[in-house]
């Protein structure tokens, strides 16, 4: 079973993603801030990381920067899930070496297929 780590401080967004992915055979982990997210990523070595760029303790961009520099995690795809305007979000994701970008509010019908595609490319 593939493991997905969601780093997201907003409870409503966390619950929405959990609900949308519930019918799918994934193990979902959650961290509500950047520091916990990095710790969980190191401990669990997930197959995919979904990260909100606006986190309360450390900027999402900085968390991505750190994760990308950890050899054990260098092949784990990281997808920015962000409320930034689409063009800014994509630019941000590309510059920080994310493997993709999904803007909020998420399209609940397309979201599982997008996640499956990121996991397939892994």
């Amino acid at each position: 079973m593939k493991t997905i780590l969601q780093i997201e401080d907003n409870l409503a967004n966390k619950l929405l993603i959990e609900r949308v992915l519930e019918p799918h055979p994934y193990r979902l982990l959650h961290a509500a801030d950047g520091e916990t997210g990095v710790a969980l990523a190191l401990d669990e070595k997930p197959d995919l990381i979904l990260i909100d760029m606006g986190l309360p303790d450390i900027d999402g961009q900085t968390v991505v920067t750190l994760l990308k520099q950890i050899p054990d995690l260098e092949n784990v795809p990281i997808v920015a899930v962000t409320a930034w305007p689409a063009d800014t979000a994509e630019k941000m994701a590309r510059r920080y070496g994310c493997d993709g970008c999904i803007t909020k509010p998420i399209d609940v019908r397309q979201f599982p297929a997008k996640i499956a595609a990121f996991l397939e490319n892994d």
Partner: protein
């Protein structure tokens, strides 16, 4: 609705309310209590003059007031979803302006994120006028960062915090509140590089180097083409700090910004700086 001082609440309570004001914001900027505490300290926010709007025990909104010699600064003003469309924003503004008036400051400053039309309209209605646009920029780390071949360095002199503050006190353009000398004086462990190029270009950069992030990057060109010398200085900085993510706030949209872009920075978003003279003071 009643308006009470923000100092009646803990940082945890304030940050919880603040984060709720930003849930659907144009640029999400959540904080935690430690970040808010640092913000209050560095930017001279006076919580006893900052305000919270309450309906009974329920927080509807909040606004912070920074106070420095002869001027005040409205920041982090926000209304929770449940407090909207009932005049909460105006009630917060009224009290923050009243507090500023009581301090006999000459001017009240604030910034609004470009594109936040309701907030901009509120500030215009309250007599604020635009002064300039400010850029919040980021630069992703580049582990392979090298200094381009066409940059010929004569000397690079690293300086410590005290010298960085001296350099910052000699800037030619008026800095925004976040980048005023008072803010930098509250930051620990600033660093600086003074750079001389073989073609005669000269300038300096001050910055704060954290473990993961470079912040508070400020560049001043003293001799030479502002864009080219800025780019050279920043290439030198990032060659020394390859692993860190960089964020720098409230840059002016001038020739120096071209140098930032040439060194790999990109615009995250813009703020509009606004001011209101308090004529009666």
């Amino acid at each position: 609705m009643k308006i009470v001082p923000a100092s009646d609440f803990s940082f945890e309570q304030l940050v919880d309310a603040y984060n709720q004001t930003r849930v659907d914001y144009v640029v999400p900027m959540p904080m935690n209590a430690a970040r808010l505490q640092e913000y209050v300290r560095v930017y001279d926010v006076d919580l006893s003059r900052s305000v919270v709007a309450l309906d009974g025990e329920v927080m509807l909104g909040l606004g912070l007031l920074g106070v420095r010699n002869g001027r005040s600064w409205i920041t982090r003003l926000g209304v929770l979803p449940d407090g909207r469309r009932q005049g909460t924003g105006q009630a917060l503004m009224d009290e923050l302006l009243h507090q500023s008036d009581a301090l006999t400051v000459d001017k009240v400053w604030l910034e609004v994120i470009k594109g936040n039309t309701p907030a901009h309209a509120l500030f215009c209605k309250n007599g604020f006028t635009e002064t300039r646009e400010l850029i919040v920029a980021r630069r992703a780390p580049n582990l392979k960062a090298e200094i381009p071949d066409d940059i010929h360095i004569k000397s690079v002199t690293p300086l410590d915090h005290e010298d960085a503050i001296i350099l910052l006190s000699h800037r030619r353009k008026r800095p925004n509140w976040l980048n005023e000398i008072e803010s930098f004086q509250h930051v620990k462990n600033l660093s600086a590089l003074v750079v001389e190029l073989l073609d005669g270009g000269r300038g300096w950069v001050t910055y704060h180097a954290g473990l993961l992030q470079l912040t508070r990057v400020s560049v001043e060109v003293t001799v030479g083409n502002p864009a080219e010398v800025t780019a050279a200085i920043l290439h030198i900085l990032h060659q020394r700090h390859k692993r860190q993510d960089t964020i720098t706030e409230n840059l002016l949209d001038d020739a120096t910004w071209k140098g930032f872009k040439a060194a790999g920075y990109f615009e995250a978003f813009r703020r509009i700086e606004m001011k209101k003279p308090l004529v009666d003071s």
